[in-house]
């Protein structure tokens, strides 16, 4: 069965062009870029080129890019660095809807003497900037707020936030793992001090990320050892992955327009049709600005894992905010923070598209999903009561 892959916020297909670009750096051009000989030197040139390409997508300077092993490492590095840079400041501001890469770290730090403010979101997943203003104080070392939410696609007003944070003298980090390649960015005119990105969300391989670090912003490395990445991240460069990330960023720039037109139109069509065909459905984050590729839709009175298993029978790959898919017992912390009722949170499905998504694939979902929901509601004791109403 051919997969219909609509789970691109979880991970993406490596672009063929990206794969071709990285391929020689395993068995042929395997030199260490730090070596003195020509064989390492030619790899160094490609790593430099990759750094230029990543910088170019962000509107940054190449020296401002630090390659890391993943988005999670970038997030951890940024926040831990701020705490070391400001040893007298022990307050971190973040939000309840961050990815665990930020949230779990902050919750661990709260047990080690840090004060954490987790900002709330409204029912559409939006921040209250007034709450942010009240939270900021002289003790605030860093504010870490995500650019776009991985579950709902809701986009935060990052530049507005950054201006508020700067006025208070704290550092501003954003987890832009889901935003890079979908939202045009320009660090040259931005208020962001540090920004995390991850290769596998933009058609590069898993296990490569980057941290943008604004020139002049003080930084303490997370990994210490060799002098790689100007001593800001020790460890021999993952050359093939870095080269792949560079190519992926170049491709992302070329396809940015398409993400915001063709992919957006596919997402909107899917959303419209599902709402028309399926009663008792609602969009999580529907009232907010969202990523063009993400649709989080809640079906009342049915459970997400059951929906996913039945979709999977048709080759359709999506994900769910349900507790049962993760082995935890609480539905998604993001949907809970938005106050999505339990009845909806358990039955929430996320479709996340990419530039490889076809119209025919969207047609298949529009055809297959309504009968799946109907069937599960027929099995459900609550669904019965509701259908009678």
């Amino acid at each position: 069965m051919k997969e219909i892959y609509l789970d691109n916020n979880a991970t993406t297909k490596v672009d063929e062009a990206v794969f071709e670009e990285m391929r020689p750096y395993f068995t042929e051009l395997y030199g260490n870029p730090s070596s003195m000989h020509f064989f390492g030197g030619q790899v160094q040139k490609k790593v430099d080129e990759a750094r230029n390409r990543v910088a170019s997508l962000l509107g940054a300077q190449p020296e401002e890019i630090i390659f890391t092993a993943c988005g999670t490492e970038s997030d951890n590095s940024a926040i831990r660095s701020a705490l070391e840079v400001f040893p007298e400041k022990r307050h971190i501001v973040t939000s309840r809807v961050e990815h665990p890469a930020v949230l779990t770290l902050c919750r661990n730090l709260s047990k080690r003497g840090c004060r954490i403010t987790e900002l709330n979101v409204d029912s559409a997943g939006r921040l209250d900037l007034g709450e942010l203003a009240r939270a900021l104080d002289d003790d605030t070392a860093i504010v870490s707020l995500m650019y776009a939410n991985n579950e709902t696609g809701v986009v935060f007003p990052i530049e507005e936030i950054g201006a508020m944070v700067k006025a208070k003298g704290a550092l501003f980090h954003t987890d832009a793992v889901q935003a890079v390649g979908k939202i045009p960015l320009n660090m040259a005119t931005s208020t962001i001090d540090m920004l995390s990105l991850s290769g596998h969300k933009l058609h590069a391989p898993k296990g490569i990320g980057a941290l943008y670090l604004r020139k002049g912003v003080p930084f303490r490395p997370f990994l210490v050892g060799g002098h790689q990445e100007r001593s800001r991240r020790a460890g021999t460069e993952a050359t093939s992955s870095i080269i792949a990330l560079g190519k992926a960023c170049e491709q992302a720039a070329l396809h940015m327009e398409e993400e915001n037109t063709r992919v957006l139109a596919q997402r909107d069509r899917l959303e419209r049709e599902l709402l028309t065909l399926i009663p008792h459905a609602r969009i999580n984050g529907g009232g907010a600005e969202r990523l063009p590729n993400t649709l989080s839709i809640a079906f009342e009175f049915v459970e997400g894992e059951a929906i996913l298993l039945l979709l999977s029978e048709h080759g359709i790959c999506a994900s769910s905010g349900s507790a049962c898919t993760s082995g935890s017992l609480e539905p998604s912390h993001v949907l809970r923070a938005m106050g999505v009722p339990f009845t909806c949170a358990h039955g929430s499905i996320r479709f996340s598209l990419s530039r490889f998504t076809t119209d025919a694939e969207i047609d298949t979902v529009i055809r297959e999903l309504p009968p799946i929901i109907r069937r599960l509601r027929e099995i459900s004791p609550f669904g019965r009561e509701m259908l009678v109403k």
Partner: protein, 285 residues
């Protein structure tokens, strides 16, 4: 993705006995929307009101919840009520070729619904695991989020031989939301395990001091530390002076509010498995 057996998949994709029985003799409902799963079970008895001739269900829940409901209805048809009551959650899981541990609570839900249905039919007290629907239950509520009582948890711990709080969460959901009752769950485990240990005395006879020290070390390594690891904790043996064992807690156990209780648990284990005169003392490591 869960590693479901073919039998689970098959019962999920083609569930048997979905629906309602209009003039059912017994109906049992457990779970709720808030919990993320719920099961309504309908039972029809033969004219002599002896054997189950038909069973149907409605389930809100994940794939394994639907498959477990389907399996349960198949298993109880043709049984007397007493025979049906003997069906354990483990048998439901076995019927399906096994369930992932995190999904065992789905099979427990089937067993509960059956108990509720039969108790209601017989007019006796309704069993105490009504998942927060009505709190007038026997026993003391341990998990407030899911409304589970100590009696119910003891039973599941004993019959499935559970020995970590995480397992209890997987089987019953208790402790899976706010986590506030996890220390209490650990106490219940220790109590149940203690009772079981009494049932099967494995204690050696009179020991030389050296042999006792060896046994204490072996027991700590083989029996106790693995239980703590499961919860992200650990302990270190600091000293043994006669029958007084000094230990220090590490990782998640260190500074944990329930470490005093954990020390008691260690003591009980050592008393049971090595010698009655052992005392355990927590020291700064």
């Amino acid at each position: 993705m869960w590693d479901y057996t073919d039998k689970v998949k098959e019962h999920f994709l083609n569930p048997r006995n979905v629906g309602e029985i209009e003039n059912a003799d017994a109906v049992g409902e457990v779970g709720s929307l808030a919990c993320g799963d719920a099961l309504k079970l309908f039972i029809k008895l033969d004219d002599n009101k002896e054997r189950i001739v038909d069973a149907k269900f409605q389930t809100f829940g994940c794939g394994s919840a639907i498959a477990s409901s389907s399996a349960l209805t198949e298993m109880i048809k043709g049984k007397t009520l007493d025979e049906a009551l003997d069906v354990t959650n483990k048998e439901i899981a076995d019927f399906l070729g096994g369930l992932p541990e995190e999904k065992m609570h789905c099979s427990v839900m089937g067993q509960e619904a059956l108990e509720v249905a039969i108790a209601k039919y017989r007019g006796g007290p309704v069993p105490s695991h009504d998942h927060g629907h009505d709190h007038e239950q026997e026993g003391e509520i341990v998990c407030k989020c899911f409304g589970l009582t100590d009696g119910f948890l003891r039973k599941v711990i004993a019959s499935n031989k559970l020995h970590t709080a995480e397992q209890v969460t997987h089987f019953t959901k208790a402790g899976g939301a706010c986590g506030g009752c996890i220390p209490k769950i650990k106490e219940l485990i220790a109590e149940v395990l203690g009772e079981q240990a009494k049932d099967e005395p494995r204690k050696p006879g009179k020991l030389t001091n050296l042999r006792k020290m060896q046994l204490i070390q072996e027991t700590l390594e083989k029996e106790i530390r693995p239980l703590l690891w499961a919860d992200g904790g650990d302990l270190e043996l600091v000293d043994i002076a006669g029958a007084n064992v000094q230990i220090a807690f590490r990782k998640a156990c260190a500074g944990c509010v329930s470490s005093g209780y954990t020390a008691k648990f260690v003591e009980q284990k050592l008393k049971d498995l090595v010698s009655d005169d052992i005392t355990v003392e927590e020291v700064e490591g």
